[in-house]
Symmetry: C2
Subunit: 137 residues, 2 copies
């Protein structure tokens, strides 16, 4: 599914994203994440040891949200499916750190396995405030 | 469960909260919401006709997150259970509108039933950046 212009714009800028995953009992859990776009996928970085990595391995369904910093009553929500793979050389983590923090990613012990989370959109919603929603997919 | 000082501070200021609920198929859905605190509960306003109201009626498990605007790598996540009741006189909606928008809540057709969502915390997590998390409950 192609990512619409509005989604590209919000997800390519260094805006924080909120990611919701499902815990072991199916209840929602939420994190704030750095985010970038590659092709039609939305990319995140996490450690294999994190709860969200375990959650997405068990159940890949995810909701990702970015608020428009210039129009805070507007935001985009992407619902989709996550695939996890090792972030070899911590390339994605480093790209994200350069974009958000302006410096290379912090050093981590080499035995800490860092993953790329790639979200394939299934449904894309744009919220315009006062309860107005449009589907972008 | 008493709400710790950090939670009170973030949720009482007019910061936007992210609320995650479970859709009909159990997948996560996310919204941005106004929020306030009353006693040890976290309050939101929504219309009965909204998807999130249907979600919480079906499965009351919810995750609520507020980012610290002064320290954006810090945020609080509250996981808990939501109870819904009619917002008689739109009192809660009006309080929220005064706090966030500085003006009374917009008029709505009287047949649009507005609800108060009251979240009772079950687990409270404070994220300090770089993957550090502390439980506050």
């Amino acid at each position: 599914m192609p990512l619409p212009t509005d989604v590209q714009r919000l997800f390519r800028a260094p805006n924080f994203a909120t990611m919701s995953t499902l815990g072991p009992d199916g209840s929602p859990q939420t994190s704030i994440m750095w985010v970038e776009v590659e092709g039609d996928e939305i990319l995140f970085s996490t450690l294999k040891s994190r709860q969200k990595a375990a959650n997405l391995t068990r159940d890949p369904r995810v909701s990702v949200l970015v608020q428009d910093p210039d129009r805070p009553y507007e935001y985009v929500e992407v619902r989709g499916t996550a695939a996890l793979a090792e972030d070899t050389g911590r390339t994605v983590a480093n790209d994200l750190s350069l974009a958000y923090a302006g410096q290379p990613f912090r050093s981590e012990p080499p035995d800490h396995v860092r993953l790329v989370v790639r979200v394939s959109p299934r449904k894309i919603l744009k919220y315009l405030g006062s309860g107005q929603v449009v589907r972008l997919d």
